[in-house]
Amino acid sequence: MKVQEIVNTLGLTIAAGKSGLNREITGGYVSDLLSDVMGRASEGEVWITLQTHKNVMAIASLKELAAIIIVQGLKPDADLLKQAEGEEIPVLITDKSTFEITGLLFNLLK
């Protein structure tokens, strides 16, 4: 499944990184601990988090994640969004809680 498809199905807002919408999704990872994501997430996963600072994109890029979903309508920092354009990794925003969006994404991907 491509990132574009989860954007459409889950009604996500694209905050940055549009050029990465054709990235292929291999799974999902849910965590707000950056070292946990660094240590355990895998390439191609969608990362669901409430963290909004620039290091989120540094990790997404180093781990070659497919996209980031920021929950509860939180606003990502400007430098995160700027880097997302360069890295071509979509930053997606949802008003839903982590629990809700994770359940929906899980059902889509299973």
């Binding site: 707000d32 601990l33 950056l34 070292s35 946990d36 660094m38 240590g39 390439e43 988090t49 963290q51 600072h53 620039k54 290091n55 540094a58 990790i59 890029s61 180093l62 781990k63 430098d79």
Partner: protein
Amino acid sequence: MQFEYKIQGGDFANAGTASSNVKKVLKQINVDAKIIKRIVVALYEAEINVCAHAFLGKVMVNITPEKIEIDVIDKGPGIQNIDLAMEEGFSTASPAVREMGFGAGMGLPNIKRNTDEMQIESEVNKGTSLRFVNYLISSI
């Protein structure tokens, strides 16, 4: 090939610069993707450790056909008890650092898990020297 990067304590916005550059270089010289991933995790964690705990640090990278050796040397408070610091979940990070999602006590264990050799020396109130090595020949 040798590279050197500087890290300023507290400068989280630039954390990951060394790992990102090293990743590009290793890709260019066609190192196995699995090995690159391990090196990048270890180096990123090391960069974050300097940002979170030290005043100033430098990363020295030496790449040969057989291996990559990385030294991360900082001036800072040092580590009181290295055995404790190596334990998963132990952290002395500040509340501000924890709020960013760092400081979960996973950094040094992540480094150990993702490197072939790792040594750490520290002197309290002076600083910490971390050295790790990854072999570039893919195993099986």
